[in-house]
């Protein structure tokens, strides 16, 4: 399942996939795969992404 919330939050923050990837210490492809729903990140990476995007885990990774 695609993670549109994360993509929107990244765009809101005016960050490219590569910039976010560098901020959280992964490759651009990993960010692409998370946004596309091709990879399920660990809690540690989720937290790092939330911190980089100034969002909470609920904001980005909780499905209603």
């Amino acid at each position: 399942m695609k993670n549109k919330k994360m993509k929107l939050a990244r765009i809101e923050k005016d960050l490219s996939q590569a910039q976010l990837a560098e901020a959280v210490g992964v490759t651009r492809q990993t960010i692409g795969m998370i946004e596309a729903g091709g990879y399920n990140p660990t809690l540690k990476l989720c937290i790092a992404i939330c911190r980089a995007l100034d969002k909470t885990l609920d904001d980005l990774f909780w499905e209603e």
């Binding site: 695609k2 992964v26 490759t27 651009r28 492809q29 795969m33 729903g37 091709g38 990140p41």
Partner: protein, 168 residues
């Protein structure tokens, strides 16, 4: 403050690479058990007495290595080093260095083994130098081509994976 900061690793790449090593390890384990059984039973397996027997260990090692590379490429990865695993540009200098090291290693090993086991043609320094240079160049070119082909295949596979994930 920490004196040495650990560089963060991409958990997805680490997990993918670990899976490939695990599969290769299973192949090696099963292969070595078969090899051990064959040695305990004595003799070579039926049907391979017509040609030179190269040793089951070598075949097992090659099978595990090939399987590991195939699984890496299937996962869209080129290398087990996260820096080069998903690079979009072929890191020529990095792989040229590795290929040169492989070539030099193979050349030195061949020359040392030939000297130790007393090959007749290994009498003059000129012949040794020619042998070393020949092996060095062949292995260097071979490795570089193999790295490039692997990189291209991994890149194609990665693009297909991303397209597939975006489609779903």
């Amino acid at each position: 403050m920490k004196l040495f900061q650990k560089k963060p690793k991409d958990e997805r790449i680490v997990s993918e690479v670990n899976k490939t090593y695990k599969a290769a390890w299973y192949v090696m384990s099963v292969g070595f058990i078969i090899d051990l059984y064959q040695k305990m039973a004595g003799g070579t397996p039926e049907g391979i007495s017509t040609f030179r027997y190269v040793g089951l260990e070598v075949l097992i090692f090659l099978a595990a290595a090939v399987l590991q590379i195939v699984l890496l490429v299937r996962g869209g990865l080129m290398d087990d080093n996260p820096i080069y695993a998903e690079t979009d540009r072929f890191p020529l200098r990095h792989y040229l260095g590795i290929s040169a090291a492989d070539g030099a290693g193979a050349g030195v090993l061949y020359c040392v083994c030939s000297l130790l086991f007393g090959a007749d043609y290994f009498k003059s320094a000129f012949v040794i130098a020619i042998c070393f240079a020949g092996i060095f160049v062949c292995v260097l070119i071979g490795c570089l081509i193999a790295f490039f082909v692997t990189w291209r295949a991994a890149k194609k596979r990665r693009a297909a994976q991303l397209a597939q994930a975006e489609e779903d």
